[in-house]
Amino acid sequence: MQAPGDQLTSLQLGITKRYGNKTVLDNLQLEIRKGEFVTFLGPSGCGKSTALSIVAGLIPASEGEIRLNGERVDNLPPEKRGFGMVFQNYALFPHMTVYDNVAFGLTLTSISKAEIDKRVQDMLRLVQLLGFEARYPGQLSGGQQQRVAIARALVLRPRLMLFDEPLSNLDAKLRVEMRAEIKQIHANLGLTSIYVTHDQAEALSMSDRIVVLRNGVLMQSGSPQEIHDRPKNSFVADFMGFRNFFPVRITALSNGAATATSGNLTLRARAGDGFAVGSDAVMAIRPDDIQLGPGAGGAVTVPGRVEIVEYLGREQEAAVRTADDTRIWLRTAAHMQVGDQVELGFPVDKVVLLPAE
């Protein structure tokens, strides 16, 4: 029986989790507001699923609290928190029909049979599975099972929805379809959701806010645009597709732009706070942001020789070797061949300045 608590206005976390002397979550602090779709993003082992399980109440935190609307919920067992959860492997009860699976949570309350029936039908209609009531999970496809799992959690009108990599077991095409459906359900029902994934495309397309984790440490938290365009450290940049990294020394800072040198290369980038002239840093740029051809308006250019060309269909990804033996990856629609001499341009607004590691 869920706690009949109020709907969620805010959820605050400050949790640490240790297994023996291994710290799996290092003081993860976060606040989630009503209606937000927050994604925990990171590689395997970064602690995102652990964090989700702690919020759910399935694992206890080693230290810290979770507060819902200011009141502590981390001392409640999972069945009393009023959260809904969708699991990676769906976790449908194999010995119950689709109807019984979806109705399960409702049968534990004092809601009348007629009302249960109505809610289950409404939910099945929402996930487009009307007519499947009498089937067993073993008779459904992966996508259908996932929808039953979602329906089963939503029918209880949870105040927070938790998604643990729900699409990982589906094939690519289905994944794209389902993520649009999940986002739509979230919006239409006015849910508040925490979503866990390692897939950055999923995170970018679905989230209001992304929290990037690495080895239990929060690396960056922000909107998809911020995470994508303005990563704050090398890990996030690397994870989000910045393939070219240059260790540099800052030579000048002015008007939010930094100039720095890396060997014979001089680069310019947007600069935030926290950097000083003379200090070491890292500059990074995406392969798709590098321009081909003679210097275009203010951009630094570097000559090089094409070493490798990978044909990707509409574009090519190429490795270019510069004079001081640096390899730079670029992606372009222009046709290139191994051996070509090219000029690479680095637009200032596409180069990011990152702290040295």
Partner: protein, 294 residues
């Protein structure tokens, strides 16, 4: 990691025959044939030609003989129930691993490998009226007269329990820990308390394993022999059906009669198995549909 070809017929070639033949012949010759021979023999009565149900008639007209069926059932069924209930409680409670798991499971293997003779001898000593248990209880003032726990029904049950419990516990533990743990988690997220989780989610999924465990433990308990002799009253209250069969074979040298009793024993075990299967089918028709294994 298995590579198995698709064409069934070509898979059974000369090599397959060569490899299977020794064991196949052995099992057929030494298991199936004696079995059939035993049935055949049971229909022969000593000193009478041709087939006859005489042995069976004799068995069922002598209360000393057919009474063993009741005695054996009344030993096997309570033992099986107790073993199963305790094993289930323990296996379920410890399904997610427990302290010193490896050490404990090793110690639990001991009764199985030490064998029933050593166990029975030890029980006689430990639980006997002069044994340590009674001594401790008397010394601590809890009782004044020793409990009579050996050379009776209780002694046999003790031995049976000690043999069957570790086996049943480990079997169920393996089975239960093979059930997808996220089923439990999802049930709890849906508002189910631990007892609801057990009753409505886990128990139906454990049921098939329980049925198999019940069947195995019962069948083995029904065939109880050495502990019935050593710890019971083989001539009286714990005269099990296997004792009756043994006596016919090796004390009275009446092989046909012994075979008949063995057949009766086998039929009783078979009847119990059939009942368990039927019962299970009625109880959980959907449990067979894609059980939630990891």
């Amino acid at each position: 990691m298995r590579a198995v070809a698709n064409d069934e017929r070509s898979e059974f070639d000369a090599l397959a025959l060569f490899c299977l033949l020794p064991s196949l012949l052995y099992v057929l010759a030494m298991f199936v044939y004696p079995f059939l021979y035993g049935v055949y023999l049971s229909l022969q009565v000593q000193k009478i030609d041709g087939f006859s149900l005489g042995n069976y008639v004799a068995f069922f007209s002598d209360a000393y003989q057919y009474g063993t069926i009741w005695i054996t059932f009344s030993l096997a069924i309570p033992t099986t129930i107790i073993v199963l209930v305790l094993s289930l409680c323990l296996a379920y409670g410890m399904r997610r691993g427990f302290f010193m798991e490896r050490t404990i499971t090793t110690i639990l293997i001991m009764p199985i490998s030490l064998g029933v003779i050593l166990l029975s001898e030890g029980i006689l000593g430990f639980y006997g009226s002069q044994g340590w248990l009674n001594q401790m209880l008397i010394a601590s003032g809890l009782i004044s007269e020793p409990f009579i726990l050996t050379h009776n029904y209780i002694g046999v049950m003790l031995a049976l329990f000690m043999q069957q419990f570790p086996f049943c516990f480990l079997m169920l533990l393996g089975y239960i820990s093979g059930i997808d743990p996220s089923l439990e988690s999802s049930a709890r997220m849906l508002g189910a308390t631990p007892s609801v989780v057990f009753r409505r989610v886990m128990l139906p999924l454990i049921a098939p394993g329980l049925a198999i465990a019940f069947a195995l433990v019962f069948v083995m308990s029904f065939a109880v022999f050495p502990s019935a002799v050593m710890l019971g009253q083989p001539a009286g209250a714990t005269r099990t059906i296997s004792i009756a069969a043994y006596q016919k074979a090796f004390e009275q040298y009446d092989m046909p009669a012994a075979s008949a009793i063995a057949v009766v024993m086998g039929l009783c075990q078979l009847a119990a198995l059939v009942l368990i299967i039927l019962f299970r089918r009625r109880l959980s028709p959907a449990a067979t549909m894609g059980v939630g294994k990891r």
